[in-house]
């Protein structure tokens, strides 16, 4: 590597790997696995549930109620994020948040994360540090007590962040997708459509000649900055998952692919039709129906008062064949995101 003077390189974007960096910010391919691991571990304190943290063949995590909720979700550069838009901190935060939401959607409290990183050799150590900060802060901010307890590092041509999240049900039964009953209220906690709107702003305004370009904050209209933040650093209401379970939720899931698609999945799993009321879907009902990645919690409850943080958006009806989801009485087609069908990649 040429011995160039330090620049303003930070953790953001592909430029980092190709521009000058401080002498103490080597590329991943220049340092041993030990130093990379050390960088991560120094930034991610053990959580309240870690009985044995990183450093051995495996970690040991408390499972006080005799079972463990477990889920895995991966972010891949290209289909899932663009380095021009998402810095290391954003990616760590989002990879944590989407997995925490899956645990919360079962009614469980998140206890631990495992992080499997596959990283191109020319990424800087500062990128890994920012990623670790994002994981730490998402745990602290969204699911206190949960922390990174282990992981794996390998080199890859494609930056890939595979996270596994564990959780504890605290003695309750898991809340599945299949328990919605006719007459139940349909409720939501968290954002609807903001993250999807943010993605559309990014593609419309910061994507040129098929390639993502960095966001220029000065070019953003009112509300667009918040929408982009919702896309890059979603903040689902993780703590409300256990609250919903305690309050008698009959079904629950997180909305990752848009309300239309995910409510349809819940309706099909439960053998019912979910009837939504557009006036309850905010100022932009179409965004709420089609926009994914907010990871709001969609839940059904026996009719009556809802737990704090949830608002009513519809009701559960007897199944209408061919129409798992209605909005204002009209069938809603699938409007969401299938990564196999839709997952385009661009140059980054």
């Amino acid at each position: 590597m040429a011995d160039l003077p330090a620049s303003g390189a930070d953790d953001r974007g592909p430029d980092v790997a190709h521009t000058a960096a401080p002498a103490d910010d080597p590329m991943i391919g220049e340092v041993g696995e030990g130093r990379v691991l050390q960088t991560i571990l120094a930034r991610t304190p053990a959580g309240a549930y870690a009985l044995l943290g990183p450093g051995d063949d495996a970690a040991v995590v408390a499972a006080p109620s005799g079972s463990v909720v477990v889920t895995t979700d991966t972010l891949v550069e290209g289909p899932d994020f663009r380095a021009a838009w998402s810095g290391g901190y954003d990616l760590g935060w989002k990879a944590a948040a989407v997995n925490l939401a899956d645990v919360a959607a079962m009614g469980a409290r998140p206890t631990a994360l495992l992080v499997a990183l596959a990283v191109p050799k020319d990424r800087r150590l500062s990128f890994i540090a920012a990623l670790a900060d994002g994981f730490r802060d998402a745990c602290a901010g969204l699911a206190p007590g949960c922390a990174v307890v282990g992981g794996d590092l390998t080199v890859s041509a494609t930056l890939t962040i595979a996270v596994t999240a564990l959780g504890d049900l605290e003695g309750r039964a898991p809340v599945t997708r299949s328990g919605a009953g006719v007459g139940d209220d349909v409720a939501i906690a968290g954002e609807m459509g903001a993250a999807g709107h943010g993605l559309s702003v990014l593609f419309r305004r910061f994507h040129q000649d098929g390639v993502a370009v960095p966001v220029d904050p000065a070019a953003l209209a009112e509300g667009e900055s918040e929408a982009i933040a919702a896309q890059l650093r979603p903040a689902p209401p993780i703590g409300l998952g256990p609250v919903a379970a305690i309050s008698g939720a009959t079904a629950m899931m997180d909305v990752s692919d848009g309300l239309a698609l995910d409510a349809g999945r819940m309706a099909e799993a439960s053998g019912v039709t979910i009837a939504l009321d557009s006036s309850a879907l905010g100022a932009h009902p179409h965004r709420a129906l089609a926009g994914g990645e907010d990871h709001a919690l969609l839940a059904t409850f026996p009719a009556g008062p809802l737990p704090p943080g949830f608002r009513r958006i519809g009701s559960v009806q007897a199944v209408v064949p061919g129409a798992p989801v209605l909005c204002d009485g009209e069938p809603v087609g699938p409007l969401g995101w299938d990564p196999y069908r839709d997952g385009g990649t661009d140059a980054r």
Copy 2:
């Protein structure tokens, strides 16, 4: 896709994606995520510990003893495997085996696997099916009762298989790397050096102009076929992990990077020196010291009779500064594998 007649395409190698295939063997990019998931789930029955299997936001796995052992390890095309050498079945088997070994090395019994796949769009569905078969058979063959309980699918330019394994300690304390005591016997269960020898045969004989080429079975000398099998489908003695723990193992780990490097890690974690006896390392002591990926179980026990399946290879001594590992009294340098230092990629 051109409507070409079916060929002999199987799940092996990069050619599959570019040659004709039966009409019922579409490319991943041609089918929805649902069909890919269905292909996997139809081949991987729920295990004995799955309280709630795939299909919801998360799975629920029994953790009878109130804690869960958890580990993650990733295989990336290029640094970790070549498609010309490893078919889908091999990859599923190996990705399961290496993770099961990490659970066993804590003295725990594996209970569940989660599989996060990032797959190029042009891979065939038959490749995914073979991968799922490999996962299923590795669980059934190496860790009965353990099964795939969940996973994630995304598209990626680089084939990446990130596995998380869970295990139960059955009420015992975890066996860490740090408990080896002076005077203990050092013992091993499983192969030493076979997988590393297999990799060297592959690189020496089936790697031309910097690119992996398919193995020609007719070109193999005696023993080479077994060595290649040990590399592609390692069979660590998973069930002996709990046996070692019950028998009072003071320290344990799996040998993934070669005995010299991994015994050094155990010695450093325990603050001792491990003295090996070359006459106990088989016909090829250097292969045993340097060759990784067998995932044998290295353990220390109070001096005396060893549990079934373990054989003595040395003893634990008071620390010799600068020499964590001795062989026949001489210091052994690190001879193993650091993916960040050594992880070359080739054209596939």
